[in-house]
Amino acid sequence: MTKWLTSHFIFRLAIIATFAVPFAIGVSAEAQQRTRLKARTDSKPSNPFMVQHRPVKTTSTAKRSGNVLNLYRAALTAGKVPAKPQLKAPIMLRDLSPEEQARMEAFASCVECFKNATTGPFSFALPRLPTAKSYALFGEEAEKLKKNWATMQMLRPFKDNFFWNNYVLKYTRASFSNLTKITAEEVKRTRHGISGNRYKGYCKEAVNDILVRSGVIESRIPGDHARQSAPYLRTLKDANGQNKFIDIAASIGHDASKAPEGAIIVYSGGRSGHIEIKVGTRYCSDYCASEPIDRVFTRKVSGIFLPVVKKVAWAK
């Protein structure tokens, strides 16, 4: 009897252990999962390997140079510093009448014209701003530096005057309205429309179609891969030996999302790279997406191109 009881007892214990222990472990695992999910929904970093998409924290210019700005503001209120000079805005091509435009003579591309233009903003060749290392100074030296720095800011062209990019973009956009207007329709007429809005691996063909149809280039961009079009567009010249396209990638920090309407964006990476045109707020090639491709795959912007006006000179 005792023997039977003991064996029975052990058997029952084994059965309980077999079912109860995994159940307990399972319950705890589930609870862990639940807390992890909760953490995920609360956007807390639950898993170190999971990518947490959060806005990048950037220190504002005002915060970084707070001391100097305060100095400047104090000087302004005390009346020691001259007020910001009122500068003439540069003349845009679209601001000129057709007669004025007709009076223009051809001798240089718009960028050079702007540099030579008398109506443009004044600019000085100033020494470089103190780097972050200089802030480590303290005592009299630091005060002196800050003081000089604030004076230099007076001499330096204001941020509002740095509209070189803006100028070029507006200028080209106005003169190449064909590109920005036609593309939305052209995109649909070409590869985009063949089998719906989806990536088909024919981005370069689609962009070629659009560019040739809208008259931006006469012949198609050669090469098998989309990434080959960056060096081609960079060196493409018109009959007068002027560059046909301007690469503004460096000036907007190689950020495709900052590209203006009508810009041709070329990427490297992957087998073939990628090429797309910004149509309105969308990025189109053989498909249209609301985000540039470097947000989806590991692609790198190798050029953001805008067509340049062939012959321009300032009338005044």
Binding site: T6, I25, Y199, P231, T281, R295, V296, K300, S302
Partner: protein, 159 residues
């Protein structure tokens, strides 16, 4: 008493615990990431009707989350997934791809998809025809692109 009851009882309990420890680990690794994928799937379903750029951006973020989960849970060498993981992954693909013109979920997880192709195909077979077609087309595009040779590796790069 000690010989007849306590010792065998202790032995049995410890032995079952020892065995179950491994069993429970296996159980956990099979289910790893499934809940995450299910949660992502639910987020995709929530976004299904929205067409604005913000929703697209959200979808893109979810796509990256899927990739990070899949990279974490797939076998380091063989890139294999368990059945439940494949089921969850397939349901995410079915929800994500028709809304995404680039099909980033497929493009970024091509290696894992290739390793589990048979099992995934079995899951895709249950989907509606249009969805299945779209998914297969996307896979084909990326595989073709990968297979395409490079004839100009020495091309000068900008930057």
């Amino acid at each position: 008493m000690t010989e007849t009851v306590v010792k065998p009882a202790l032995f049995t309990v410890l032995w079952t615990l020892f065995v179950l420890a491994f069993a429970s680990f296996a159980h956990a690794s099979d289910k790893e990431g499934v809940k995450d994928l299910q949660a992502i799937h639910a987020d995709y379903v929530k976004l299904a009707q929205k067409k604005d750029a913000a929703a697209d951006s959200e979808r893109n973020k979810l796509q990256h989350e899927v990739t990070s989960v899949i990279n974490r849970i797939s076998d380091a060498k063989t890139k294999k997934l368990s059945n439940s993981q494949i089921r969850a992954f397939a349901s995410v693909i079915a929800e994500a791809v028709p809304r995404d013109p680039i099909a980033g979920v497929i493009g970024n997880n091509l290696e894992v998809m290739r390793a589990n192709r048979k099992a995934l195909d079995r899951e895709f077979a249950r989907l509606p025809k249009a969805k299945r077609k779209r998914i297969n087309e996307a896979i084909k595009v990326f595989e073709d692109e990968e297979a395409r040779g490079t004839n100009d590796t020495n091309e000068p790069e900008a930057n």
